[in-house]
């Protein structure tokens, strides 16, 4: 079935909201996505009729709630082709997933002088947890640099990976849109004897994902960027690896037994899910996954590739030298994220002017300050697309940018 943009948009209540008489042009999905009706309804219905504790109580309502929660886990496992639902850990967000990796796997396996390889286009979530580990135990962090068009410069990869114990990289940059060759990087990590960790926060919402085909070891992503609720993140890991990792947070549900003298841990996924989990959120997330599956991830990706092509052409065509769009031009290796500099206007002012026309973009460092330094800027303006965006949104963006001149009179 062809991708039907109008039908898709009708599923998102907020997109029919009018602000001051004109519709919302939401171009900030790289930050967080809007939610379709069925996700909202799934949560409301669950709260009104079925809410109960999970894993702990044995009456029917609790059993059913547990089943609804686990159905969320199974849906996520299916979406990324995990070999078992037990390989999916629910966290609070992708950031917690990354911290879990650094602290649990890193805590058990990394010491003084051990090397972790990152890239210059990482989000803070894939930088700071490793820097904390560095401060604590003296690991060494190395960086894969970028080419002029914002792709990973893999020329020296073998040297950088030499002796590395972890290679952790984003599957899609939240600033440049760059999609590196994930499977190839995982294989290179393994060849060097390093763990392959993938920050798939920006990838999973927009692409068909197969963690097994990637050959990755650990993969982090977030519900709120893929039409699902806030308050729930995911970690996928190979079962044997997760089994071998020490726990992260301690408390109820993650234990097998507790005495005054000590505790033993439950099998995964419970081992990594201390305390009351995001119950309603898992129910909403399941609806989000089913929504994406019904549309088909490949069709979503195709739609976004077309749209990104259109956006690059439109903006470059209309503004020429006045606009600098960062990242690769080839949409086969980039997602629908367009960070740019516009004339000598500050991104905050650009965003302000666009907001006047209900065009919502992000201005700032996008939680990727090291990348800003590499690009030689303090901040950028970023438009990021999702399945509900169309060429009309790109046109609205371009029109609003054109209007910016009138105000600043440069």
């Amino acid at each position: 079935m062809a991708f039907d943009l109008d039908a898709v948009r009708k599923e998102f209540p907020i997109l029919s909201r009018q602000i001051d008489g004109s519709p919302l042009v939401y171009l900030d999905s790289g930050n967080t996505s809007q939610k379709p009706r069925r996700v909202i309804d799934a949560m409301t219905d669950f709260l009104e009729n079925s809410y109960a504790p999970i894993n702990r109580s044995s009456y029917r309502l609790a059993g059913e709630a547990t089943e609804a929660f686990e159905a969320g886990r199974r849906a996520v496992a299916r979406l990324v082709n995990a070999s078992s639902p037990d390989e999916i850990i629910f966290t609070k967000n992708a950031t917690e997933s990354m911290n879990l990796i650094a602290r649990s796997w890193g805590g058990a396996n990394l010491g003084e002088g051990d090397v972790v390889l990152l890239t210059h286009m990482e989000h803070h979530a894939n930088i700071v947890p490793w820097q904390m580990l560095r401060d604590e135990r003296g690991i060494e962090i190395r960086w894969v640099p970028l080419t002029a068009d914002g792709q990973l410069d893999l020329t020296d990869l073998d040297r950088l990976l030499d002796g590395a114990k972890v290679f952790s990289f984003t599957a899609m940059s939240n600033v440049l849109g760059t999609i590196p060759p994930v499977a190839k990087l995982c294989a290179a990590a393994h060849d060097a004897g390093a763990l392959a960790v993938v920050d798939a926060c920006q990838y999973v919402p927009h692409n068909a994902t197969d963690v097994q085909a990637w050959g990755a070891d650990l993969v982090a992503f977030s519900s709120h960027k893929m039409c699902g609720p806030s308050g729930i993140g995911m970690l996928w890991g190979r079962l044997e690896l997760l089994d071998a990792m020490p726990p992260f947070l301690g408390g109820g549900n993650m234990i097998d037994t507790v005495t005054l003298d000590g505790y033993t841990t439950a099998p995964v996924p419970a081992k990594f899910e201390a305390g009351t989990p995001p119950i309603v959120e898992a129910v909403g997330l399941r609806a989000a996954v089913e929504f994406l599956e019904d549309l088909d991830m490949s069709d979503i990706r195709q739609h976004e590739m077309d749209l990104t092509r259109y956006a690059l052409d439109t903006l470059n065509g209309r503004f020429g030298d006045e606009i600098t769009i960062y990242g690769p031009d080839d949409v086969a290796v980039r997602g629908g994220v367009l960070s740019f500099a516009f004339r000598d206007l500050h991104p905050h002012d650009v965003s302000q002017v666009l907001d006047e026309r209900n065009v919502c973009v992000r201005a700032g460092h996008h939680c990727a300050k090291p990348l800003m330094q590499v690009l030689g800027v303090q901040s950028t303006t970023r438009a990021s697309f999702y399945l509900y965006n169309g060429t009309d949104d790109v046109d609205a963006l371009a029109d609003a940018l054109a209007g910016a001149t009138d105000i600043f009179g440069f």
Binding site: Y59, G63, I255, D256, T257
Partner: protein, 153 residues
């Protein structure tokens, strides 16, 4: 909804009130394994004696200790009756059949499984209608499987 009579069959209550093969065996020679259900804290200690080697290996004795609810206790009690004196291979087959009956996936029947009689164990079929109790019913079986694996005959 399924009624309580589907769960608490008379034979189950009988095994609960009068559990068979309760107690301990000296270990070694017996293999001692523990299982528990983290949801409710139920604990079981299983003692296993195996006679013979390879295809001739026989479950010669099993004893059950620990505390649990009617379902975990009666299931373990019935299990001991079903496996004592049987070849180890049949005990494994019974574990597979039982778990399949409980709706647990990944236990495809293997050739010969169908020949293993379930007998009284059929009474536990009603547990499937009470999903949260399935873990209770299989607790003893998982503990037995672990003991057999450790016996490694």
């Amino acid at each position: 909804m399924p009624g309580l009579e589907d769960l608490y069959r008379e034979i189950i209550l009988d095994h609960y009130r009068t559990p068979r093969n309760r107690g301990e065996l000296e270990s070694p020679p017996a293999i001692e394994t523990r299982g528990h259900n983290p949801l409710c804290g139920d604990e079981i200690t299983l003692y296993l004696l195996v006679d013979g080697e390879g295809d001739d290996a026989i479950v010669s004795d099993v004893k059950i200790g620990g505390q649990g609810c009617s379902i975990s206790q009666s299931s373990a009690s019935m299990m001991t009756q079903a496996v004592i004196g049987k070849p180890v291979s049949q005990a494994y087959a019974l574990i597979r059949r039982f778990k399949t009956m409980m709706g647990i996936e990944g236990y495809d029947e293997q050739p010969g499984d169908a020949d293993v009689a379930m007998g009284d164990l059929e009474a536990l079929q009603g547990v499937v209608k009470f999903p949260v109790r399935i873990k209770c019913a299989v607790l003893g079986w998982n503990t037995l499987a672990e003991a057999l694996d450790r016996a490694g005959v």
